[in-house]
């Protein structure tokens, strides 16, 4: 199955609604990347804001208070949520996000992967916001939102790889073995050394060939489609863990 979408629990939906909410009120995505240090990162509201704590009193008990409510349809196709019609701006965004998160307990999976497995954040691109040429250049006219989107989407991809790497079930292991049992933090996977000749395979291998070999052998799982979602995510995670190491193809 080519170009299959990644199986991220609730992540696609989370992405969609967050873009919606973000447009509405500049709300941060639930999984604020640890490496996101944009100029006004500190001004962003906290990622998870309980409605009652920050919103107007009326927001705490919207319908029961007898006030007018409006139903807002979520763009993930889920059930519409009701909010008091008096809410606007940030309190409205917080209320929506809070309700959505209660319905999607797994929504923090990216942050949890990052915390659990010490994922390394992607490169910081905030320098791209400097320099005047960007302002009148259609391609180079980045905003802070661009920079954050790149970082979040990349981190999510890597987190998905980490989730698979650390899960015997996701890998389809028939012997309850996952990659991290022999490669903690992806140690000894040496992605920077590919392509290289693998003596035992008798040919030049790419990183994905060796990943696949390890899945079929120590892990005793099924061969993975080299272009499939799982392989792409595994490659992403393994490469992310070697950030900063010089490429050195052919090294044994």
């Amino acid at each position: 199955m080519r170009n299959a979408p990644l199986r991220c629990p609730a992540s696609a939906a989370a992405g969609t609604i967050c873009v919606l909410l973000g447009a509405l009120a500049g709300c941060a995505q639930n999984a604020a990347p640890p490496g996101a240090t944009g100029p006004n990162a500190s001004e962003r509201p906290p990622a998870i804001t309980p409605v009652a704590a920050t919103a107007e009193p009326s927001a705490a008990a919207p319908a029961a208070a007898g006030g007018e409510t409006v139903a807002i349809g979520a763009c993930d196709g889920g059930a519409a949520v009701e909010v008091p019609s008096s809410l606007t701006g940030q309190p409205l965004a917080d209320s929506l996000m809070d309700q959505w998160q209660r319905d999607h307990p797994e929504a923090n999976w990216v942050a949890e992967q990052q915390e659990r497995h010490a994922l390394i954040p992607p490169a910081d691109n905030s320098d791209l916001l400097k320099g005047d040429q960007g302002k009148d250049h259609a391609y180079g006219n980045y905003t802070e939102r661009d920079i954050l989107t790149w970082a979040r989407e990349t981190e999510k991809f890597v987190a998905e790889g980490s989730r698979i790497f650390h899960s015997a079930d996701e890998l389809g292991s028939t012997v309850a073995v996952s990659c991290d049992m022999c490669h903690p933090h992806a140690a000894n996977t040496h992605p920077e050394t590919y392509p290289k000749y693998q003596t035992q395979l008798g040919r030049v291998a790419l990183l994905r060939d060796m990943i696949d070999w390890c899945i079929e052998n120590p892990v005793r799982g099924e061969h993975l489609d080299p272009n499939g979602a799982k392989m792409r995510a595994l490659e992403a995670y393994i490469q992310s863990q070697r950030k900063g190491v010089a490429l050195n193809y052919g090294k044994h």
């Binding site: 659990r116 309850a176 903690p184 120590p218």
Partner: protein, 375 residues
Amino acid sequence: MATYKSVETRYLEDRRAFFRGLRNLDRRSFLKVSAAAMGAAAGLAAPHSFTPVSVARGAESPPGAAPQPAFRFAYISDSHLYERDVNDRFVRGLLRAVDDVNNLDPQPDFVFYGGDLAQLGQAKELELGAQILKNLKAPLRIMVGEHDWYLDMGQKWRELFGPPTYSFDHKGVHFVVLNSVVERDFWTARGMSPMERMRTVAGLDNGLQSPFTVGAAQRKWLQDDLARLPDDARIIVFSHSPLYKLYKPWNFWTDDADEVQAILKRFQRVVVIHGHTHQLLTNRIGNIHFHGVLSTAWPWPYAPEGMPEITIQMSRPDPFNPHDGCGDGEIHVHPDGLVDKVYSLWNRNPVTVSRAYMLSAGKESVPPLPNRPSY
């Protein structure tokens, strides 16, 4: 005419005789039972009757006595057993190690098991391990690892093997066994189930868990246990994690190592033997010599930083051979209490890290260097 009896037959007869005799013994005379009979007894279901401190201590000989002959014991460690129908590779690993040790001739004085018998601390895994270890001919001394502990907080392990902290004396050497995998409670606040807690601890690179410690209670116990010994006593400590600070993200680390080392500091020589790291690993901090041992399940990579200078690494393992980098081994105890450690690697020549190498701070008797070092 004497009938021929195989080793197994003699062993089983000895064992039967020993247990017949045992019924009539009181505690004191129990301690005088010969080492051979102890060996036989270790094969039975209740090895914890040997392990409590009060019992084991009675067998000591005074540390100041004339130099004892050197002796040796074998080690097996880190088998990480799942139930056989989940994964039989790790089961075969432990069976192979038991065979190796049973084939040693002469037999070692005892076999030390270095912890992580089970993978997820489940009763069936621990029982399977106990059952396989029963086949050892020599007596068993066993230590706990984090994989044995964090499902039921050691309940099943203690039921099978007794208290995790104890000491005993053997041929003039004082042996201490610690539970060095005590973690601060990280699970209650997160509302983890016992299995979630176990799986978190079982992930070497899972940062939600806490660092390993020996803890104040055991440090006090250790202090008391060693109090009566003179400074020139010969002491060997067993701990699952290395009793020093190597690499925190993988818990190749004991958080209160400095305090434990302080307790050991007054002795002229101390040997610490640990599991958990699944690799050739050696360290020396002053008077304390640290020796890591092999796993029967899989080798770990070397930590990316913090490696002790005196360690001669093993070449990176061959992924095409599931047993490469695994094995078991022996510890030869010299009259002065220092040791030669033998790594009996299954797929390679054995490697010995000798007392002379340690004493010369890595200058003499250097073991062969790796051709595929870690990077």
